[in-house]
Each structure stands twice: as structure tokens, then as C-alpha cells.
Amino acid sequence: MLRVEKITQVFGGVTALRDVSFSVAKGEIKGVIGPNGAGKTTLFNIISGIYRQTSGDVFLAEKKITQFTPERLARRGMVRTFQNVELFGNMTVLENVMIGLHTKSRSGILSSALKFPTAIREERRIRQKALECLEFAGITEHAEETADNLPFGKCRLLEIARAMALEPAIILLDEPAAGLNARETADLGQLIERIRATGVTVVLVEHDMELVMDICDSILVLNLGEKLAEGTPLEIQENQKVITAYLGEG
């Protein structure tokens, strides 16, 4: 599904990532872990087209997507969430999800402003679909609230609902459990399982080890910008290098 080849990223002389390669199989849940500063978020930013890497390539379904813009990636079925939650704060929860359906609709400025019948029909369809996505994430009762007024836990869910509206082939979750309490984290775990059940490939960066070990099929460990290990949760838990890296830091 996703293949990353020898990604290197240098920021003004500091090497944030060095020759990182890995791949994610279709329908898999892949965890990316590592101590702070390991380069996890940088890696995500490169894959999702927000940074331009110094060198290396990214492939999506065997198609080279190196340096594609985020909007182009969205049309190819790749979507992501953000560590700090990037919602459209002044819009309602429903409208947030409706933005997720942007690529699934086509009305332009003229047909929207002149209310062509196609635009009206499309709008109705978008609304319907958005409501379904809210239900999927279990936040239907908040549909008409302004996103800025949502409690933090719900914001995370909304961001995922919005991403799922794109009907992505692959979803990148950047620390989805950060800031959630134990219960919310458990719910999130279930939601991620449900996402996978719909056939979507999941890659997540996460600090919550319990969650990662619980739901991931395979894990990539980064340390100081380099790939330290890759394997099943069990293999990773027993990997001596990984243990040293974490204990050395803590």
C-alpha cells in the first residue's frame, strides 16, 4: 500500500531523518514509535506532502507520490490527522465533516452561486454522507455545535470522522491518543479497529504503548532519525536495541 524509500530530511544542518525505509501492507495497522525527537512527526509531514524531503521517495499503491501536494494526495486516497488537532474551529461539527467530502463533489463557483440543480443535489448528498460519518465516529449529537466548543476528546473523534469522509485508502494518525484519558483511549482503539474493518490501511504515530501494542499489526521504531527496528509488537517488545533506546532516554 505505502512504501517509503530512503527518506532523508535535513533542517539547516541538522539531520532529522536518515535513510528511513519501510512499507505498509494493505489493510494493516502500522505503528510508528520512538522517543521524543526521533523524527516521527517529520516522517508524517513528508509522507503527507507538508514538508519536502531532502532525498528519498514515497510510493502509494506502487505509484510514486514523492513531493505531491497534500490536496493531490487527498484525491489519491491519503489523509491524515494532526498531533495538535487541526479543526475548522469556526465551523460546525457537521460542516467540518462536509469539508472531508470536498474531493467527492465537484460544483464550482458558478454552479454553486447560480444554484444549478446538480449543485443542490450534490449538497444534499454531502450532508447525508457527512451525517453517516458522524455516526461512525459516534458524535452525531454534536452535529450543530461549533467545533471550537467541543471537548478535546470529541475533537479527536471529529478529526478522524472528517478524515474518514474522504473514503481514504490509507489514513495517517498523528498521536491520536495524546491528551485523552484511559477511557477515551480505549474508545479510540475500537474506532481504529472499526476503520481497519472497513478496509482502510492505518498508520499511527503514538506514545501510548498499550494502545500501540494492542492494536498494531506491525511496528516501526525510530530513534534519532534512524530506523531502529521493525516487526510485530511481540518482536519489538523483546528487541534489545529498542529497550535500550527507551530506557536510555528515560
Binding site: 503527507s48 507538508i50 501536494t69 497534500p70 490536496e71 494526495l73 487527498a74 484525491r75 489523509v79 491524515r80 494532526f82 487541526e86 479543526l87 475548522f88 474551529g89 469556526n90 465551523m91 460542516e95 462536509m98 469539508i99 472531508g100 470536498h102 474531493t103 463533489s105 460544483s107 464550482g108 463557483i109 454553486s112 452561486a113 447560480l114 444554484k115 449543485a119 450534490e122 449538497e123 454531502i126 472528517r162 478524515a163 474522504l166
Partner: protein, 323 residues
């Protein structure tokens, strides 16, 4: 959804008010002022689509207004073109210019965007002043014909009132529909978080440029209408100060609201007429208004009802509670 009906109802009420307004002001010079309110409404609306919805500032709106005016004026006064054709020609030319410069300009953000649009506005202003053979330079361009349909000429305040408000109402309808659509949503998304909008597949760069061009076309049409109702134009109407005045209208009326554009335009056009004593000092007034509104009422005038109504309701409830 009931809201869709409300949107339509609001529009119809507004249109009705516009249609009957001349009855109360017929013959007076105030009707002439209301013609200007119409033109400024179009200009404020154009800026509001860009600034209030897409969150992209432009301090060069007067340039598009001026380009529309001058293309219309020069084509009709110097080359005998039909005013209607000139209006369309101006709108197309200005649209193409805005679309072209939009790509490099809208790559910039925030303060840099403000400065570059301002720079563009001043360059155009200098052109109006310096291309004397074409525009008459600082002393202006006169002899611009009125609009006409057959024998009927739009040569009085009343006729122009309906002409200009006809256009303004069309633009308002266009904008109301647009902002309540998929495109309007995408614009607001760009405003809130451009990176998230892009991740959701919104082609932010293209959309920003498109809305910039649309805003320029609206301004150009307003410019043509202005030129053919005034029959005289001079560069002084299209300088940096007017761009700032438009910005003030939008901020005062309410960023991101269609009718707020009208409120701001109406207030800033009417007030100086009532406060004749202010004379040149209206500039102090604008500055003060701009600062105070941004600091204390960032929602603009249009939000007043939603601030006051709940308060009144609470008050009423309490009174009933006491009784």
C-alpha cells in the same frame, strides 16, 4: 432545512426594502448618496468574500475598482465603445489580470500579502496618474457616456439607483448562494486552517486565486457602473485611502457576512453626509472606528442583534420571574 428558507426570506425582505427606499428619498440628494451606498456595497462585498470568508487580506481593492472604471471610461469616451460592452470587457480584462497576479500574490500570507496587494494598488494608481494620453492623468477623464438601452438613458439619480441596486442585488444573491455552498465552506476552511483544508483535498491555492479574481471582477463591474453614472473619474477616487476605507467598511459591517458588507458600506457612506462638520477629519474617525471595532467588536455591526437579543431575552425572563 429551515435555514435555507430563512436565507431566501432575508434576501427577499432586503430586496423589497431596496425597491421601496426611493419613495422616501425621491428628489433629495440623499438618493444620490444611496447610489453610492450601492456601489460601495458591491465593493465591500467583493472584499468580504476574499477577506471575511477566505481570510486573505487585500489592500489593493481600489485598483480593481479603478481599472474597471478606467477601462470602461477610456473605451467609451476615447474609443466610442458601447458602455455595456465596455463593462463586460473591463470585467474580463480585470478578471484575467487578477487571476494572473493572484498566483504569486496569494502564495504570500498575512502581513506580506497585505503589503504586496498594497504595492500592486499603488503601482496601478501611479499608472492612472502617469498615462496622461489615455486617462487624462490627475485632472481626470470626462465625457464618459451614461448607460442606455435603446432610447432610454440612465441619466438621473433615480434611474441609476435602480440600475446600480439591480446589480448589487444580483451580486448579493450570487454571494449568498456561494457562501452557503461547497465552495463557501471550503473558503471558510482555508480561513480556519489552510493546511487542514489542503489535507482534506481542497485545492487552496487555486481556490484563493479564483476568489481573488471573482472579487476583482465584482470590483471592476462596480467600477464600470461608477464611471457611467458619474461620467467623470479621476485617480483620486482609486488610491490607497479608498482601499483602506473599503477595509474599514468590511471590518465594521462584519467580516464573513454578506449583509455586513452592506451595513459597513451604508454606515461609511451615509455618516460623512450627516456629519458634514467632520469635513476632512473623517479620516480620524475611520482610524478610531477601525481600532475600536477590531478591539472590542471583532464581529462587526451585523453581530449586534445576536449580542443584544439574548440579553433582552434574559432580561424579560427575569422580569417575568419577579412578577
Amino acid at each position: 432545512m429551515g435555514t435555507e428558507r430563512n436565507v431566501l426570506l432575508k434576501y427577499l425582505l432586503f430586496s423589497a426594502a431596496v425597491l421601496v427606499a426611493p419613495i422616501f428619498f425621491s428628489g433629495g440628494y440623499l438618493l444620490n448618496v444611496l447610489v453610492f451606498v450601492g456601489i460601495n456595497t458591491m465593493l465591500a462585498l467583493a472584499l468580504n468574500l476574499l477577506l471575511g470568508y477566505a481570510g486573505q487580506i487585500s489592500l489593493g481593492q481600489a485598483a480593481f475598482f479603478g481599472l474597471g472604471s478606467y477601462i470602461s471610461g477610456v473605451a467609451t469616451a476615447n474609443y466610442g465603445m458601447n458602455p455595456w460592452t465596455a463593462l463586460v470587457l473591463a470585467a474580463v480584462v480585470v478578471g484575467v489580470i487578477a487571476f494572473t497576479i493572484g498566483f504569486p500574490i496569494l502564495k504570500l500570507k498575512g502581513h506580506y500579502l497585505a503589503m504586496s496587494t498594497l504595492g500592486f494598488g499603488i503601482i496601478i494608481y501611479i499608472l492612472f496618474n502617469e498615462t496622461i494620453d489615455l486617462t487624462g492623468g490627475p485632472s481626470g477623464l470626462s465625457g464618459i457616456p451614461y448607460f442606455s438601452v435603446g432610447e432610454f438613458q440612465f441619466d438621473s439619480d433615480l434611474k441609476n439607483y435602480f440600475l446600480i441596486w439591480g446589480f448589487a442585488l444580483l451580486m448579493i444573491l450570487f454571494s449568498v448562494n456561494l457562501v452557503n455552498s461547497r465552495i463557501g465552506r471550503a473558503l471558510r476552511a482555508i480561513h480556519d486552517s489552510e493546511v487542514a483544508a489542503r489535507v482534506m483535498g481542497v485545492n487552496a491555492r487555486l481556490l484563493k486565486v479564483q476568489i481573488f479574481a471573482l472579487s476583482a471582477v465584482f470590483s471592476s463591474i462596480a467600477g464600470s457602473l461608477y464611471a457611467h453614472t458619474m461620467t467623470f473619474i479621476s485617480p483620486a477616487s482609486f488610491g490607497f485611502n479608498f482601499s483602506v476605507e473599503l477595509l474599514t467598511m468590511v471590518v465594521i459591517g462584519g467580516l464573513g457576512t454578506v449583509y455586513g458588507s452592506f451595513l459597513g458600506a451604508a454606515l461609511l457612506t451615509l455618516l460623512p453626509e450627516f456629519l458634514r462638520t467632520l469635513q476632512d477629519y473623517d479620516i480620524v474617525f475611520y482610524g478610531l472606528l477601525l481600532v475600536l471595532m477590531t478591539m472590542f467588536m471583532p464581529g462587526g455591526l451585523v453581530r449586534i442583534p445576536s449580542l443584544v437579543l439574548p440579553f433582552l431575552a434574559k432580561f424579560k425572563v427575569r422580569r417575568q420571574g419577579n412578577a
